[in-house]
Symmetry: D2
């Protein structure tokens, strides 16, 4: 990454009041910060304010550590929840897969082509099938079987691997296991899933079969954060495609793959670019 | 309608087997029938076959009555459910509205501009608000109040009006009353509703509020046939539009109007052009 | 409009540098301005910065006149081009139509239902056809014939009517006359047109015929500002719909109407809500 | 492929008249042919009729050779151009690439996962970059440099390779060379290209730069057959995605990749499933 494109991303949520933008932009200006991108959202129902700034790193007269120290003086009085990240430090996504490979193919393509900036330190699977393809990309592949009669050790091992590989987030790329509640709670807003329906329709198992039986005219996919409540976590991104009466379940599965990988890729990008701020059960996504 | 564009539309459903198309197209060819449009669907799960033909009326050496008489000889052996309609006879849609006028505006525009062929013999409402606009178009408007404490007489009156005006179908253009089960059963596959959500998500009341609370990224609308099970009837058409975190409930309502009227218009067109064939709970829509 | 929802909209364009946001938001905060919505765009190619703020009117300790006077002190040093508008003052759109009424129906519906805030002081047409429908809405209708052999007096009369009715913008709602160059230049960024193609494809006459001949799989519509170069003005909004080989030119015309009115409505809304800032030949649209 | 899913696909184009469907479906019924899918199109402007049938192979009492021999007796009198293909024989697509790999990744994924049925006997490139990825899939990779000063021998070599590998079609998956006219003419309706714009907008070089400069609000991609007229061949499939003022040329390139690969994949599928029939410069696509 060349200096000219390195950026710091500052995200903020706080109670809404007059003067927030003035305080933040005043601070940035004082230290020479060139704003490349800025987004605001004022949530009228809850009187909460959300901001995201991308600042040209080389313009700022402060190191990140100095920024953090000094900005605390602004953040405190306004009651801000905030974070700042550095585009030179790629987020590390631990990817979990089972046997289906369409989302994995897509993520590996985007990683290899640097479609957007992220790293994959390890791919974990409950099956061996995709080892060769992952390893061809030079990425470690770990097989963690999840035996039906005793799944807990497997999930403990997965969480260990996540920490060993210094994961910043976990991506369930059509991973066909339900994570235990304690694991979801251990990584809040850090586990992204792709569900193969337009939630809240067709939560749970076999959504394409459900969609076929109901006779819907569009099918969709949903990228969401995983919480202890299955398919109930905050939605990051969704999309749909048109089907018709001539399409059987197997066609829905086939066409669905294209929308699943597209929605997951967008959701992952929004997450790694710090575009997603949570507001209770809802998400603010600054595109 | 000039002779050159008058067409007969033949729709057929029957158990699937070899020879159906040959028998039907052989019959049409024998009587000079020029096929303008033909659609087939073979439902693998149920072994049911569906067909729709548009035949140039002036090419056929038979009157409609003769057609009906002779075609029965084909239909019987194949166990066909079938119908034939004449584009010179416009379908008569009895429209029910409450106070919201976006779907009504849209339907009246399409009727007046002959966007597709249909008539509106009467508009019925539980409020007086839209009388002047309807009457300006030269269409009778009947106010049938639906008092909360005793709704049955109102619905009996509406069904009477439907028959008095020789209705072919009833369109609920954001009519804010739930029809009684006996009325739904009296007009099977003849009552079209527009529901302001992407069913089966957010059935029932206040779907935009439900959608807002769930934090979905797309909202939709569904045109479906009304059955005694609220919001459970066969779906004819659906569509969605993208929203974002900046949109409050009132924005969803506002943007939703555009998708509601578009989806209702398409659903109504498919119905009046005999493009919708039912297959249990699902619809075959030959576009 | 109640006090709680009245808002001032401030739009700014200026050379990009550090400190713009700080200066503007500092000024707003100093005078109590509650920011409801804020959008920024930094154009990297040209080093130009664009901003739009919606400020709660009742929060501001300044009248609009005082705001204008004092804000000049900020705007000058930064070289800002800027404007501030008051949502309590509806923009007055002079609508021009010919015989086709789909865009007119749609605009009148949105005006009557207050889908978004604007007024229509007069509708002008080169034909009498739509007089009754316009007048039913209580809006004056003026017939200005445009004789092929001498069009100039007609356009001079139209511009007079625009000024007599204190127009803020002119909307060509499928007006089938090409405006003279002097008229386009008299109202820069004030005349909105809907072109029935996805520009730059199929500029000029009969775009649906052109689209049919080329065999495209999607057709579209474009809302743009009118300049002296036909169909070359800055684009505000575009959209498309899918067609197929079964659709003849007349079907394209029919389906196209739906996309034309939707695109025009969005373009008009962006304009009246001061969401469109021009950047040479391109538009910044803060949605 | 199991017997139960093997199918023959019969495509026909001929002058329109009464009796075509009767003759074809009569012939099929006579030989026991079970119709799985049937599509018709009657082109009113040219009085040409198009048909496509998928017939269950095991239901037919004729071998393909017998079918061809006997069907000639029907085809002759009606002046049919026709073909029949066997789903058990996969079409062989010779893929040409340069350095960009997004379309290649997508095609290899679809080939490997049998998303739809086709083979890739060889990938040819004017660069070495993608050799390892192609060979990992077990597919031969041939480097054919195309020196600027003398390109003809390269294209002759490519055509030789196409024939050596018994190609059924050639797919230009972002191949950055213009094919010579004689090569386009040698393989009419056999070379598919993906152009990175919504044609006819932005034909030729650097379409994303052109789109950026014009300020369009949607960008697209077009899959078309290659003819001697650059970017003028019959269109098979198109699609678009929304962009906004914040997107620079590099963003258009990035988002464009997703739409390019999706459009190319659909176009290739339509081609290999014999869903595309040409009608002069336009295509009939039976989806």
């Amino acid at each position: 990454m060349d200096a000219a494109s390195r950026r710091f991303t500052l995200t903020i949520a706080c109670p809404d009041r007059v003067g927030i933008v003035a305080a933040v932009s005043g601070f940035l200006a004082e230290h020479g910060g060139w704003i490349l991108e800025a987004s605001h959202h004022s949530d009228h129902g809850s009187d909460t304010f959300f901001m995201r700034h991308e600042i040209l790193a080389e313009s700022l007269a402060l190191s990140l550590d100095e920024f953090r120290e000094r900005f605390a003086g602004i953040a405190g009085p306004f009651g801000m929840t905030w974070a700042i990240s550095d585009s030179a430090v790629k987020k590390r996504l631990v990817v979990l897969v089972s046997r289906q490979d369409h989302c994995l193919y897509d993520l590996l393509y985007r990683w290899r082509s640097q479609d957007f900036a992220f790293d994959i330190p390890v791919v974990i699977s409950n099956h061996e099938d995709l080892r060769a393809f992952v390893e061809w990309h030079g990425i470690p592949f770990v097989h963690v079987p999840v035996p039906a009669q005793d799944k807990e050790p497997a999930f403990r091992r997965i969480l260990e691997l996540y920490h060993e590989h210094r994961g910043d987030a976990m991506v369930l790329a059509r991973y066909m296991q339900v994570l235990p509640g304690w694991m979801c709670e251990a990584l809040p807003s850090r586990i992204l899933n792709i569900h193969h329906s337009f939630l809240p329709s067709f939560a749970g198992a076999k959504p394409y079969h459900q969609a076929y039986r109901r006779g819907v005219k569009l099918i969709g996919a949903t990228c969401h954060y995983v919480t202890a409540q299955l398919d109930e976590g905050p939605i990051i991104e969704q999309d749909v495609i048109r089907i018709d009466h001539g399409d059987g379940v197997e066609d829905l599965v086939r066409y669905g793959r294209d929308i699943e990988k597209a929605v997951l890729a967008r959701g992952v990008r929004y997450h790694v670019e710090d575009r997603v701020l949570l507001h209770g059960h809802r998400s603010v996504v600054f595109k």
